[in-house]
Every structure is written in structure tokens, then in C-alpha cells.
Assembly symmetry: C2
């Protein structure tokens, strides 16, 4: 059926949107175990970026599963498809001129490689929340680890499904001991050059 | 598995984004036959909105099929899923503060009702490109009608698959006789109240 589809010309280009917004657009993946602080840190970073007048959006695993991906379950195939659609949506957001934050467990090295390929290497930043399983499980903010240990949630990352630690993330943040402000400042410092205003 | 998912609190709200951008965000569906002018008019409108300093994005059927929806074919089920994902992505874009234009054939009344339900009635505007089949087929910009008549493209809307005309669109535009500027002006006039700046 591919002869039925031709790429359409976008009248308004990404570089034009970046120019109007006066900043670059790019994609940040926050990867780590459930309870490692992905959503909290992403939200905190987004607040800081907004206060600087930048255009942003956050894609969240739970929210996507209630909408775009609500037909998917938690089999390995469905988890991969969940991330593929997230990355394709993220790419559209980056093309729309938004600094796009994505808080997804994304447990496998092959998942993260796929996301990077879809987004494009130049636009992809990987931040690893390396909070240990032990700490995540002690926090258990949503009570999911307790359920997983009871066998009520199958294929739960860290308990009954693997998490492959990133080997070469752009940043590695263990938020076990730090307050919320510190990881955000660390990320903002890392992003300094990408956040320089476009004149 | 629904007990595994809890909606996440968005730190930056849609109304805050609208306030910073100083305009509302909403969704416009351009529906009509292949060749009716959907993408052309959507692109022209987007250009005009950009020139007014508004934040916009255009979702296009062909582009989505090369990315987010590349796993889908053209069976009735896949065409519906294609539109469901488009609408869910559109909803995210509207939440991100963007005036979101969508150029999709969306041939069935039930498709358009689904899109409206996902987007939310208040944010949904339907523009029907009522250019006749005869005119679309004479234009045949992409050569698709010729292929469809030869049986090379199954389930082709207007030839071998139905197009149900919208019964109550917000606007009905037959661009058979008009130049490009006229439909865009007509749409901009219709949008007057929605485009009033937020102070």
C-alpha cells in the first residue's frame, strides 16, 4: 500500500517555529524504575523551563496509556509498541517546536535505541534516574511493588521483568539522597548550550 | 491491568500554556475526499495563523502513516485506528497549547463522532471540503483515482469505499471555483472569536 502515501510538504518548518519561539526544540527521555522520580523531576524541570518562557510538553507513560495507547497491555510486544508510539508522538512535538520531556521506564537497551532512532540522535537526550530498586521499593508511592511482589502485577520492571541500566546516558541522576532542586539544576546546567536563545 | 495506571498531575496546565501564548488552543478537522484540498487549505491557514504569532501544528494523514501509524493498513479497522491515534495525538497537541489542524479524509460519520469525543466538543471544529468527486477525480493530483479505477488501490474513498458527507459541519467549503485565499479568509472569519487574544 506504500504507493498510496506521499510525504506532504510542511508549509511551516521546524526551524521557522524554533526561530519564532527563539529556542531549539529537542527531546529528553527520563528512564528508570517505577518510583525512581522520573515524572517528578520531569515536571519540576518543565516548570523551570516554562518560567524561562520556553515552549515545552511532557509525555507521561500513565497518561498515554489512558489515551493514545489504551489498546495496549503489558506484554513485551505491547510495551515496545507503547514506546514506539510515544517516540513518534515525541518527534511530532519536537517538529512542532516544543522541548519534549518523556517520563517512561523504557527498560530495555533496544527500546531506548529505537526511541533514539525515531527521534534522531541530534535531538535525543537520555537521563537515567539510577535510584536503586531497594529505594524505589521502599518508597512504593503507588503501592505497585507490593502488588508485584504478591504476583498481582505480572511483568513488573525490577521485580518480574528486567531493567537494563543505560550504559551511556547523557546524565545519570541518583535522586536517593538529593532534594528535588538539585537534579533539576544539574539538568539545566547540562542543557546550557541547547537553551541559548536563537537571535 | 488498569490498577497499574494512575493519571499523573501535569505541573504546567493547559490554561497556563494558553495564557503564556496569549491565545486559545483548539482542533480543526478538515474532512473530504482525496484531492478536495484539505492539506493545501490547512497549510495555507497555518501560514496565516503563524503570521499572526499563534502557536500551531498540522497533523497530516500521509505523514502520520509514515510514522506513528506505519503499522496500519487500509482495512476498515485500521482506518478507524489511524483516526483514533490521530485524535489522541491531536488532543495532546491541544493540551500543549497548539492550534492543531488535521487533514484527514475521515470518511465515516462514526469516525468524526469518535474524533469529536476524543478531542472534546468544545475544542472540535469540523470543516468539510465538499469538492465533488468528479472534480477531485479530474484533478487527481497524486494519480490515485486512476489507480483506484484500475483496481490497484482497494477500499479507495469515493471509488470503492464510502464517503459519508458531514450533516452538520462548522463550515462547508467547496473549493472547486474559488482561489486559495478565499477559503482561508472564510475560515479566519469563522474563527474570529476563538482567535481573540487572551489578556
Amino acid at each position: 500500500m506504500s504507493n498510496n502515501i506521499t510525504p506532504q510538504f510542511y508549509t511551516v518548518s521546524r526551524s521557522e517555529r524554533n526561530s519564532v519561539n527563539r529556542h531549539q526544540s529537542f527531546f529528553i527521555l527520563f528512564t528508570g524504575l517505577s518510583g525512581s522520580g522520573k515524572s517528578t523531576i520531569a515536571n519540576n524541570l518543565e516548570r523551570q523551563l516554562q518560567q524561562r518562557g520556553l515552549k515545552t510538553f511532557t509525555l507521561d507513560g500513565d497518561n498515554l496509556r489512558l489515551g493514545l495507547n489504551k489498546d495496549l497491555l503489558f506484554s513485551p510486544e505491547d510495551r515496545k509498541e507503547n514506546l514506539r508510539r510515544m517516540a513518534e508522538t515525541g518527534k511530532l512535538m519536537v517538529n512542532a517546536g516544543l522541548i519534549t520531556l518523556a517520563a517512561f521506564i523504557s527498560p530495555l537497551d533496544s527500546d531506548r535505541k529505537m526511541i533514539q532512532t525515531i527521534i534522531g540522535t541530534e535531538d535525543y537526550i537520555e537521563i537515567y534516574l539510577s535510584t536503586t530498586l531497594n529505594v524505589c521499593e521502599q518508597r512504593d508511592v503507588k503501592g505497585l511493588y507490593a502488588k508485584a511482589r504478591q504476583g498481582l502485577i505480572p511483568d513488573f520492571t525490577g521485580v518480574s521483568a528486567p531493567y537494563e541500566s543505560p550504559t551511556n546516558p547523557n546524565l545519570d541522576i541518583d535522586n536517593e539522597l538529593t532534594s528535588l532542586e538539585n537534579p533539576t539544576s544539574e539538568i539545566l546546567f547540562y542543557l546550557t548550550n541547547r537553551l541559548l536563545p536563537i537571535e
